[in-house]
């Protein structure tokens, strides 16, 4: 297999360990006087967008930042719970840059680029330094130093955290840096704005069309570079752990303007989420992977066992992850844990009223921590009740907010009964294809964070999304963007009077008018639900060729139905969330089709992509490295028409093996 001539990943030459440092020392620079004349548009203000916008402004560029929420502080990075990885080796347990690199490549089932992942591991330590300096209150030990915990797919403790609210603390850190620049006037912030198109002039990205969601006004914004930091597209499944507003629209518009879409079918189904409780459900809530540090996952050994969890005796419980994967136990990667839960439930061992759940049990941890506290306080004859009490206090300190959330949603107290959990859509490894510079196939158009495809292969390890978002924004783009902007210093201010802007704006307006004109019978919400059901049933945790072919046809029909029967209330010249939703759902429908096409093309199983036809005898994912060791980069050619370009993945530093966590 050879890489398509249309794709150049621009990976620097040289040894893996020195690629990034050499690149940084030789990348073209832009002098401070010229930076002041170069405008950069940042769309999305999560970890990647906020850190990029703040850092680029600090460097002297003129930055405009956009978010659809009422404040950049709301971006969905805020909901990340468990932590952020960094190869600091503070625990002296054998961690290193190489090990983080290796774990990430292996965790991604050998479908990520070596050079990008190694760079990510290299800058991981700087992220923690930067965040601490910005006042992020990470958890600490009594000696005053930073605390760590474990996440899936690793055997070291390299995850830094702030209770179960790490994403919140990191985002608020990045946000405060961004607001500092806003106050200084170096970043102009546009809240409640949605990007509805990118504008290319002479083959380069020169700006965006955005809609002011309060007034409905369509605006043109010019820039020398545009950064899409717009997150993932898990909401294509309707039910996911994403925020209600999370959408693919910005990335999708870029795709239709020439940016290739990488590995769209690579979706992460997170093993520990609160199960669906009924038809009314609007979203799913994650229970952090960090809980698997202390929680043990089990189902009854007997099928259809209807006894309450805490009445099932120890010897009648099947701790199936510990049984199947003794080396990693409950901390296997997410794709494996999710499939194992599905396997048990499908086989009739599920619990709860829907039987689509397994237990996540903290009883053993409560006792272990309780005894630890007793020993710490030199009490050697403590009663069981006291030990339980102290143990619960420790668990509360570590995971209190998660336990509260669980109780609020389910009405059950997880300190007393085991949690019921089930896998749910959480993250998308796929995204806009980018080269080593994080530039898409459109010059001047970049993509950072979850919105790009680059670092996690076919499965992301826990606590690596925050790492990647901040790596891209704080430490990668500030260097790599110079490579492009150094040649833009003579361009001058981008005029938004150019016919490309006029045309793009007219197209955006026309689409909005069309949506309002249809006046059919079905709300955008109902179309979204229908799409979600197709995607979950046929392109979810398990896929097969037959189902995917059906899904493609069903989605095409859904798209036709949408454009003839959608009912959008209100008008376009004031605050109208229904119109925003309709716009987003229309793009999700098109994306859904591409995801199924991609899943159908990839005749192998890898990471989160599980094709039922391709599995080992033990039910593990069976890769086909000979034929599918590539990134699929899809070029949009028109309605229902894409062309596949392949980027061959070359592993020079890692020995490819069947992934084993046994």
């Amino acid at each position: 297999m050879a890489t398509s001539s249309r794709l150049d990943a621009k990976i620097p030459q040289g040894q893996l360990e020195s690629k990034w440092s050499k690149y940084r020392s030789s990348v073209p620079l832009v002098n401070p006087a010229n930076k002041r004349n170069l405008e950069i548009i940042v769309v999305g203000t999560g970890l990647a967008g906020a850190s990029a916008a703040a850092t680029l402004a600090e460097l002297g560029y003129k930055v405009k930042a956009f978010c659809f929420q009422d404040s950049p502080r709301r971006a969905h990075s805020i909901a990340a719970q468990g932590g952020i990885n960094a190869a600091k080796n503070y625990q002296n347990d054998g961690d290193s840059v190489y090990r983080l690199f290796y774990d990430t490549i292996k965790g991604g089932d050998y479908r990520a680029r070596e050079a990008n992942v190694h760079r990510l591991a290299e800058v991981s330590g700087n992220i923690i330094d930067q965040c601490v300096a910005a006042g992020v209150p990470f958890a600490r030990e009594y000696g005053g130093l930073l605390s760590n915990r474990s996440f899936g797919g690793t055997q070291v403790q390299r995850t830094f955290y702030a209770a179960g609210q790490t994403g919140q603390q990191l985002l608020l850190g990045a946000y405060s840096g961004l607001q500092r620049q806003v106050g200084m006037g170096t970043v102009k912030m546009y809240n409640r704005h949605e990007m509805l198109d990118v504008v290319n002039i002479d083959g380069k990205c020169r700006g965006i069309i955005a809609r002011n969601l309060i007034t409905g006004e369509i605006e043109r914004h010019g820039g020398h570079a545009v950064l899409l930091c717009t997150g993932g597209y898990g909401n294509v499944f309707y039910l996911s752990t994403n925020a209600m507003g999370s959408n693919v629209t910005a990335a999708w518009k870029a795709h239709k303007r020439g940016a290739f879409f990488g590995n769209p079918c690579f979706t992460q189904i997170h093993p520990t989420c609160i199960p669906v409780s009924g038809e009314h459900q609007s979203k799913l809530t994650l229970m952090s992977e960090s809980l698997r540090n202390d929680g043990r996952i089990w189902v009854p050994k007997k099928q259809n066992d209807n006894r309450p969890g805490n009445e099932i005796p120890e010897n009648e419980r099947d701790y199936y992850l510990e049984r199947r994967y003794p080396a990693f136990g409950n901390l296997v990667p997410r794709d494996i844990a999710s499939r194992a839960a599905k396997e048990r439930c499908d086989a009739g061992y599920g619990v709860g009223s829907s039987k689509l759940a397994v237990y996540l049990d903290f009883a053993a941890a409560v006792e272990r921590y309780g005894r630890g506290e007793a020993n710490k306080n030199n009490i050697h004859n403590a009663s069981d009740a006291d030990i339980t009490l102290w143990g619960k206090a420790v668990v509360k300190e570590k995971y209190g907010n998660l336990f509260d959330m669980y109780k609020q949603i389910t009405g059950e107290d997880p300190y007393e009964v085991p949690m019921r959990i089930y896998p749910a859509v959480h993250y998308t490894m796929g995204g806009l294809w980018v080269d080593y510079n994080l530039m898409t196939t459109v010059p001047g158009l970049y993509s950072l964070g979850e919105a790009n495809f680059s670092d996690h292969g076919a499965n992301r390890l826990g606590a690596s999304a925050l790492m990647q978002g901040l790596a891209d924004g704080y430490f990668v783009i500030p260097y790599t963007i110079g490579n492009y902007l150094a040649s833009e210093i003579r361009t001058g201010k981008i005029s938004t009077d150019h016919e490309a802007f006029v045309k793009a704006e007219a197209e955006v307006k026309e689409r909005i008018d069309t949506l309002l004109r249809i006046q059919g019978k079905t709300s955008p919400e109902l179309f979204h639900r229908r799409l979600g059901k197709i995607m979950w049933d046929k392109c979810g945790m398990a896929r097969n060729a037959q189902g995917l072919k059906e899904a493609i046809e069903e989605i095409r029909q859904l798209r036709r139905d949408f454009w003839s029967d959608v009912k959008v209330m209100g008008t376009a010249n004031y605050f109208n969330p229904e119109l925003d939703k309709a716009n987003r759902v229309a793009d999700f429908i098109e994306l859904g089709e591409l995801m199924c096409i991609d899943a159908l093309d990839r005749n192998e199983s890898c990471g989160g992509h599980f094709r039922e036809e391709y599995q080992t005898e033990e039910g593990e994912a069976l890769r086909d490295d000979e034929n599918y060791m590539y990134v699929s980069a899809w070029e949009h050619k028109g309605p229902e028409n894409w062309e596949l370009h392949k980027e061959e993945l070359v592993y020079e530093n890692i020995k490819i093996a069947q992934r084993s966590y046994k």
Partner: protein, 254 residues
């Protein structure tokens, strides 16, 4: 439909900032106790669309109690009847069949209504821009473990930093004061060694901006903390007052 609760809703409708608003009455049947409050509003909106009426605009995003976007004033209390719970995490099992529920937007001069239950909270962003940060450019940092921080200080800073910026404190306060919000950020950074260099100027600037935005004064009723979905402590206000007075006594920026 799956539930069996029937509710009467009185919901504030207002088409924009300038327009006069008023309550509209709605009946809703088949509400399930397992629905969240916002899912109940989803059902209401689908019903309104069916009837050819415009759905109620309300702010929401993460629906897991952390983004701070949801902001309903329910039966006279921000985020409704439960302590320490945001609107999105409030479930219908906290209400009874046959209840009448009154839903309004946050009401404060500094938070103008955009539409229905949606308000403009940009004032909070501007307060943060005035000083709610550590001025450290990317790339300047020393090793994260070079400076030990006592666990207690780190824990207290975290407790203050847990503020989600929803504005319930302002909505709860009869003076529409933003002291709890502002004090949470001032406290977080005052408790950490990283915040020391700008400690005084931060307190001065943030308080000045808070006043400029039109938030009211604090009269220590404590409603803010009682209604805060993250239970941010009143101690932060006491600390902010100390920080502010200390800063003013030694200010070079008089």
């Amino acid at each position: 439909m799956e539930g069996n609760m029937s509710l009467s809703l009185k919901v504030w409708r207002q088409s924009n900032k300038e327009a006069a608003g008023g309550f509209e009455d709605y009946k809703l049947d088949h509400v399930s106790p397992d629905m969240s409050f916002l899912e109940m509003f989803d059902v209401l909106n689908e019903q309104l669309i069916e009837e050819g009426k415009e759905p109620v605009a309300f702010d929401h995003d993460c629906r897991e109690g952390i983004c701070g976007m949801c902001s309903m004033y329910i039966n006279g209390r921000p985020h409704g009847p439960l302590r320490g719970v945001t609107t999105c995490q409030l479930h219908m099992r906290s209400f009874k069949d046959g209840d009448t529920i009154v839903v309004e937007p946050w009401r404060a001069q500094a938070f103008p209504v955009i539409k229905d239950l949606v308000v403009d909270r940009d004032a909070f962003d501007r307060v943060i821009s005035a000083g709610g940060f550590v001025s450290v450019n990317t790339g300047n940092a020393q090793d994260a473990n070079a400076l030990p921080i006592a666990k207690e200080a780190a824990d207290d800073a975290f407790a203050a930093a847990a503020c989600i910026g929803c504005g319930a404190c302002v909505a709860a306060c009869k003076n529409a004061s933003a002291m709890l919000f502002v004090s949470a950020k001032i406290s977080q950074l005052a408790l950490l060694p990283q915040g020391q260099a700008e400690r005084s100027i931060r307190a001065e600037k943030m308080v000045a901006q808070m006043d400029a935005e039109g938030f009211g004064a604090c009269t220590n009723t404590g409603a803010c903390s009682a209604e805060c979905p993250k239970e941010i402590s009143l101690e932060n206000i006491a600390r902010m007052n100390r920080e502010y007075i200390g800063a003013k006594f030694s200010s070079s920026a008089v």
